[in-house]
């Protein structure tokens, strides 16, 4: 999976969970987005794992701060 594909996938997942349109490549941070609470965070993790066919560790889940972290994590799992 190439980075642009991953960015698209991440933006689609974020759009669905945060219930607003988010374009690919747009930076979205947890601390700046009031709707990205811990419940939504878990939903987002479930959705990303579902779509990308990957599994995050607990540390990775708690370490995600923004959309860029997710892109790096997904890219890393697909590259490894």
């Amino acid at each position: 999976m190439h980075d642009p594909d991953i960015e698209t996938l991440v933006s689609e997942c974020l759009s669905q969970v945060l219930k607003r349109p988010i374009e690919a490549g747009t930076a979205v941070a947890r601390e700046d987005d009031g709707s990205w609470d811990s419940l939504r965070h878990v939903e987002l993790v479930f959705l990303l794992e579902d779509r990308a066919g990957i599994r995050f560790t607990q540390e990775e889940i708690t370490g995600i701060r923004d959309s860029r972290d997710i892109v790096h994590l997904v890219a890393g799992k697909h590259g490894s």
């Binding site: 689609e12 811990s38 939903e43 959705l47 607990q58």
Partner: protein
């Protein structure tokens, strides 16, 4: 098989006004669009592991009924609730959730009116401090409190745990919850059994206070949306009509030859599943484009089929349209199209039927028997919380109707026919043990239902504890079959008058002239107990209750129109004694 009658009906459609025609066409279009859209959705909703992303993209384009659900919990339900809407929409429901605080004590602070109350507890949190018996005692004290404050159906999720205590807790929960009106168990423990260790995901405990995995959330949401919520708010479907070729087996009976039809393992499972549904009270019928002789030979020759001709209450095999076939089936079974599920492998057939009957339920059997089995196992409105004696009797009673019709045609006059049936009516006054069946009659009868109050079990339980209320259940049997409890009457006293709130008689019992007997016998008893010399019966006109209206018009005197769609009938004790009833029914009281 009654093919000619149905065909005639199609030809004799009344001429529609332009507006009515446009409305009918719009409804037909909507029916087709819904049937085909739902067939598309099957691939996502009934997949072995539904995709969260695909679920989120589904948008229903058919009308939904909004229901409000209050969740009482000590753990998050949001991960489940977020997935429920697509599943519920397939069952024509739009769900709105509201949540209590995380509350181990279940305080049930004041909240708005809900259609359903869900109790969603992580029972592991109590296990250190309470024994299972103590936990049950506490839980039932709280459920009793909630029951008093809310008339909505209570859905209590059981204990999904590998702890040994959970098994006995769940068994006792089932037994004790049966004693609370309109309360049912949602079997989370069986989802745990199915998913095994995949049910839990400890990664989320610290972050969100939930140990449920993605798969557990998905399966729970699927059960709520497709099975538990529809069963809580909709009456159960009454019949499944199946196509034959490429649905119950692979091949075409009329072309391939009966011996060459393939019965794959998936077909065997599907046929066994249909047989089990019939055992649980769902009527089965065949609607097939085949020669009747071919269908007859098919079931006689293929002894390896789990389904036999006897499983079907009616079989329509003909070259005319399936619309005509389904109309004939609905007429024969005396049921509405909105209570039928039609299964066919051909989307064009589903579309044609949905155009004629937008209210019918459809299932596309296009992707093989295993997929059809999967859809059917979760199809909305087939689940039942509680089995009634009548469920096991229904199919045999419908089969006996064929014999009754033969007897009627062979007997010289109506009186002799009714006498030959040897009918017996057994009356029960305030039968608390029949609460579930009385509720079923109130919500499922349409043709003979005088008020359509759609009483819940909770409503009926309240009537049992009110000394001014009377409830009567009536059982029917004749020499051909047991019909079980086929009538319910609900009444109360008001200023020395008996007010009959609702009379419901199952359509299976109609046509044997027992309605006046049921009315007279029940009213006499209740008026005597209430020391009332007058009874009033209110009839609310509905789209289908013409038989009830006709009966009341014949038996009683209309006292006048009380509203646009309401008529009130009165009857004195003197008049009651003079109402003519057939002298061919044996009557007795129990209790």
């Amino acid at each position: 098989m009654n093919r000619t009658g149905s065909t005639t009906l199609i030809d004799e459609q009344p001429v529609l006004t332009e507006t009515a025609r446009e409305t009918a066409l719009a409804q037909a279009d909507a029916g087709v669009a819904t049937a085909l859209e739902k067939a598309e959705w099957q691939k996502v909703l009934f997949a072995p592991r539904p995709s969260r992303y695909q679920l989120g993209l589904l948008e229903p384009h058919w009308p939904l009924r909004t229901i409000h659900i209050q969740v009482h919990r000590n753990q998050p339900f949001e991960f489940v609730a977020g997935l429920v809407p697509a599943f519920a929409a397939y069952a024509d429901l739009d769900v709105e959730f509201s949540y209590s605080a995380y509350d181990d004590a279940l305080n049930f602070p004041a909240h708005g009116i809900a259609d359903i109350e869900i109790v969603w507890l992580d029972f592991d949190r109590y296990a250190k401090n309470l024994t299972p018996d103590e936990l049950l005692d506490w839980l039932f004290e709280r459920l009793g409190y909630l029951r008093e404050r809310s008339p909505a159906r209570l859905l209590v999720c059981n204990w999904a745990s590998t702890q040994p205590a959970a098994t006995s807790f769940n068994q006792q929960l089932n037994a004790r919850l049966a004693g609370i009106a309109d309360a049912s168990v949602c079997d989370q423990a069986s989802l745990l059994s199915r998913l095994g260790s995949d049910y839990f995901d400890d990664r989320n405990i610290a972050l969100a206070g939930s140990a449920l995995s993605n798969a557990a959330c998905m399966e729970t949401a699927r059960m709520f949306g497709l099975t538990w919520l529809p069963a809580a708010v909709h009456p159960r479907l009454k019949a499944i009509v199946v196509d034959l070729d490429h649905t119950l087996y692979a091949g075409v009976a009329g072309e391939d030859g009966i011996d060459r039809l393939q019965l794959e393992p998936g077909h065997i499972e599907l046929q066994k599943q249909l047989s089990a549904l019939q055992d649980s009270g769902i009527l089965l019928a065949v609607c097939s484009r085949n020669h009747p002789r071919t269908v007859d030979r098919l079931f006689r020759q293929r002894r390896d089929f789990p389904l036999a001709l006897e499983h079907f209450s009616t079989v329509v095999a003909s070259w005319s349209s399936k619309v005509a076939g389904l109309r004939s089936i609905a007429d024969t079974l005396s049921i509405g199209m909105d209570t039928i599920l039609f299964i066919d492998d051909n989307p064009a057939e589903l579309a044609e039927v949905a155009a004629a009957f937008p209210e019918i339920h459809t299932l596309l059997a296009g992707t093989g028997p295993a997929a059809t089995h999967e859809v059917l196992s979760r199809y909305p409105r087939l689940h039942q919380w509680q089995a009634h004696r009548e469920d096991a009797l229904r199919s045999a009673d419908m089969t006996a109707n064929r014999e009754r019709r033969r007897l009627r045609d062979e007997t010289p006059d109506r009186g002799s026919y009714l006498q030959a049936l040897g009918m017996e009516l057994v009356f029960h006054l305030n039968p608390q043990q029949l609460r579930g069946r009385l509720h079923e009659l109130s919500v499922k009868t349409n043709q003979f239902n005088t008020a359509m109050l759609r009483l819940s079990e909770h409503d009926i339980a309240a009537r049992f504890s009110d000394p001014d209320c009377f409830t009567i259940a009536v059982e029917l049997r004749d020499r051909l079959s047991e019909s079980g409890v086929i009538a319910a009457l609900f009444a109360h006293t008001e200023n020395a008058t008996l007010v009959v709130d609702e009379i419901c008689i199952s359509c299976r019992a109609l046509g044997r002239e027992i309605e006046p007997v049921i009315l007279v016998e029940s009213l006499q008893k209740m008026m005597q107990l209430a020391a009332a010399d007058t009874a009033t019966i209110k009839l609310t006109r509905g789209p289908k209750n013409a038989p009830a209206l006709a009966c009341l018009e014949t038996v009683f005197q209309p006292a006048g129109q009380t509203g646009l769609d309401e008529t009130e009938y009165t009857c004195s004790t003197d008049r009651l004694l003079n109402i003519p009833t057939r002298d061919c029914v044996h009557v007795r009281w129990e209790n």
